[in-house]
Amino acid sequence: MAMPEPSTTAHPPAVGDADTLPKLLLQHARNRPNSPAMREKAFGIWQTWSWAEMADEIRRLVCGLKALGLESGDKLAVVGDNRPRLYWSMVAAQCVGAIPVPLYQDSVAAEMIYILNDADIRFAVVEDQEQVDKLLEVKDRCPQLEQIIYDDIRGLRDYAHAGLLHSIAELQTLGRDYDREHPDFFQHCVAETRGDQFAIMLYTSGTTGNPKGVLLTHDNLVITGRNGVEQEGLTADEEVLAYLPMAWVGDNLFSVTQSYVAGFCVNCPESTDTVMTDMREIGPTYYFAPPRVYENLLTQVIIRMEDASAVKRKVFHYFMEVARKFGSRILDGEQVDFMDRMKYRIGNALIYGPLKNVLGFSRIKLAFTAGEAIGPDIFEFYRSLGINVKQLYGQTEATVFICVQPNGQVRADTVGVPAAGVEVKISDDGEVLYRSPGVFHSYYKNDKSTRSTKTEDGWVLTGDAGFFDDEGHLRIIDRAKDVGKLTSGAMFAPKYLENKLKFFPQVKEVVAFGDGRDFAAVFVNIDLDAVGNWAERQNMAYTGYTDLAARPEIAKMVRECVEKVNADLAEDSRLSASQIRRFLILPKELDADDGELTRTRKVRRNFIAERYEDLVNALYDSRSAVDVDLEVKFEDGRTGRLLAKVEIQDAEVYGVTELRKAG
């Protein structure tokens, strides 16, 4: 359903103030023709295109696509890694009023069929032979697909599909001829683009059911992008590395829209395997990555350090401790003693500086993490090095930004305050709603979903449950449908508790109970690698998971983790009621073969509650131990029995004299 966009606050005097991406392109090409717009590493050397050169390339693509028959309203699929020509063809499509639809480059052919048909794709611009092969494979089932245009000719010389396959070079030659005959066409096209036109369609991954095509307008992109640029103080001198999938909304906002708004340069890595090297060479100033990228980098650092000489290791650990104590505080501009400041300086010269240099983080002004919760240790590690990593909370439907952490107020467990131009509220049942200039137009050909997601007055339901904490920061706790209530009426968010506990390396899986109960209680799976390693160092002999899980030492260890979580929860008035009072360590590891986990390793809470009904009951009556008799499935398909005695443990709770009602 079309809805009037809420008006935004005054337009900032950004470098580009046009209202569509094509217009912004020409504006930069006119005002700063020789500034770098895009780089790509090819044949070992960074090749640069200035704004004028890029506009010229796009001009030929626009004319070429027109000559091939692309019309306003057509959909053009873009499939491949982050290549300049793929980015250009998206903007080229927008020039003629067509809608680019980037697809995930690693999806298999069969997965593409749904989107190709759902989006009525007529044209596809793809990277290489791999993608061409996939499209040719499904061509029979996608009758509306007319033209496939590829960037890299390798392996494709012998393909005999005349009229269907074209290289981008051919397309641009066609374009040059068309341009010669219709010299005003391109300028005319660009002038015709309007802010309320559709700029892009992005498919949401769709954890339930088929993916949905989210239609975003130029206004969505440009206004949201500009708000972000203004809020974070981005300039035309930023450098970004475009390495995340083009089908992800973030890449479109950070590597395309914000570059077009602020006029900074976007760098395409040589290949997916060289991102680390390319990152070091470019030294981006503005960076974004999902938590797992930060996690992987940290793991690599730690592993390398384990192999270093004893002296180096000592120095490293000493200064990392210094960084842990003072790094984030210095970054947040807090008062730190002169001596400690000095220590941090020395650490910077010896450790942090070189480390950041190796990781390519030397010049970073701003780094975002988003997508899922990031472990507090990982988050703190980067911040303590002086890298300004911030969490943001966003959605495709919001053109990314819903909440961002403001500088100086960064916490590991919140997602910050509403971003510029965004209004956020919490519904009566705890769901997060937002309204912003970035709110999507509609789901393509799916009015039903549009209506159930977006209200008449423009609020969008996120499906996430959250609340504003005492400092006014939003905390996302769970999917709304999983949030329950304790008998006292206090909110109970199982995933929030589970995640908090899972951040401890000793804990592998957690299942939290509490909906409709008097208090929260959990099942815990210990991490056999981490805990086993610890047990070996303590000279503790054990025969396997079940044995280890029943040890009192381990129970003590887990109790410490639980109590740390409780202490944390106690600090927050809304969550202190859901402190964990009782827990038990499961005698077996939760397993997808037994149906306890999904194949993507998410716990199936209801199934587990049924299967271990007796254990759940024991958590809530006064028993201190239970005998269990379980049927387990081995990997080879045979079944066996598991007999064990499980002790129920009590944990300390903090500062709750009476359970407060959630307000």
Binding site: A42, F43, G44, G155
Partner: protein
């Protein structure tokens, strides 16, 4: 530009016989390889495949018979002359400079094309600089072609086996050969590495029009990608023909599967 059509005879082996003392490695072998062709030599262990390759690039000198390359019948020649004539090869057991980076290893493949003196190279001036840039450009094309970007500066010794094989192919390509000899390029590889290597061999043939002679004992690989197959067994020539002809040849089947002797 599609694949170049198979042309005239580029290499001709006539009645080659080679023995080491009493061991007859090759006896009366004759076959030819045509321009732009992908030819394979197959055979069980000890059939004489590698010996044949060593004869072609002048490392062994046959007691009998002669090799004609590009219309020139060769007499006893030195190994480096083969390289000058445009024959490049890879080895069954990788023979790279382990301590040098991929890039440097590939640059050594350009050695024959470098004309500047050691002094010029030392001061990196004039011709040396021009040449270096030109060769580096060529080597970068090969790095791109073989997808070696991510290991460009990595010492070869640290790379996995499959990648080292690819680097070796790259070094041979750097010499811009007209005839490329590959000694068991897929040996010891897993299926995925084999598929990658097949792709690269086919691409080399298609993209550069390089004539390729490939030794392999994995029948599946050879049958899929070669234009013609020569089969050796105990130094004898069993069959020459297209993969289909060879597959149905009774002698070949016997050599590979064994014959019941009663």
């Amino acid at each position: 530009m599609a694949r170049q059509p198979i042309g005239d005879v580029l290499l001709k082996a006539d009645n080659i016989s080679l023995s080491f003392g009493g061991v007859k490695a090759l006896s009366n072998i004759s076959f030819d390889v045509r321009e732009h062709e992908l030819a394979a030599i197959i055979g069980p262990n000890g059939a004489g495949k590698s010996s044949m390759l060593n004869v072609i690039n002048g490392f062994y000198h046959p007691q009998q018979g002669q090799i004609t390359f590009k219309g020139q019948t060769r007499s006893r020649m030195k190994v480096h002359q083969a390289a000058v004539q445009g024959i490049a090869r890879t080895f069954q057991n990788i023979a790279l400079f382990k301590g040098m980076s991929v890039l440097d290893n590939l640059m050594t493949g350009r050695n024959l094309k470098m004309h500047s003196t050691m002094l010029e190279q030392a001061v990196y001036w004039g011709r040396a600089r021009r040449e270096e840039l030109e060769h580096r450009g060529k080597v970068e094309e090969i790095i791109d072609f073989l997808n070696l970007e991510s290991v460009r500066k990595t010492p070869v010794g640290r790379l996995p086996y499959g990648i080292q094989k690819r680097v070796e192919l790259g070094r041979a390509l750097a010499a811009e050969p007209s005839l490329l000899l590959l000694d068991e390029p897929m040996a010891g590889m897993n299926l995925e590495e084999k598929e990658d290597m097949c792709r690269f061999v086919l691409d080399v043939n298609e993209e550069f029009g390089t004539t390729i002679v490939l030794i392999e004992h994995d029948m599946g690989v050879v049958m899929d990608i070669s234009d013609r197959v020569t089969v050796l067994d105990y130094g004898r020539l069993l069959a020459v023909g297209t993969p289909d002809e060879v597959r149905n040849n009774q002698e070949v089947i016997d050599a590979y599967l064994g014959v019941a002797n009663d």
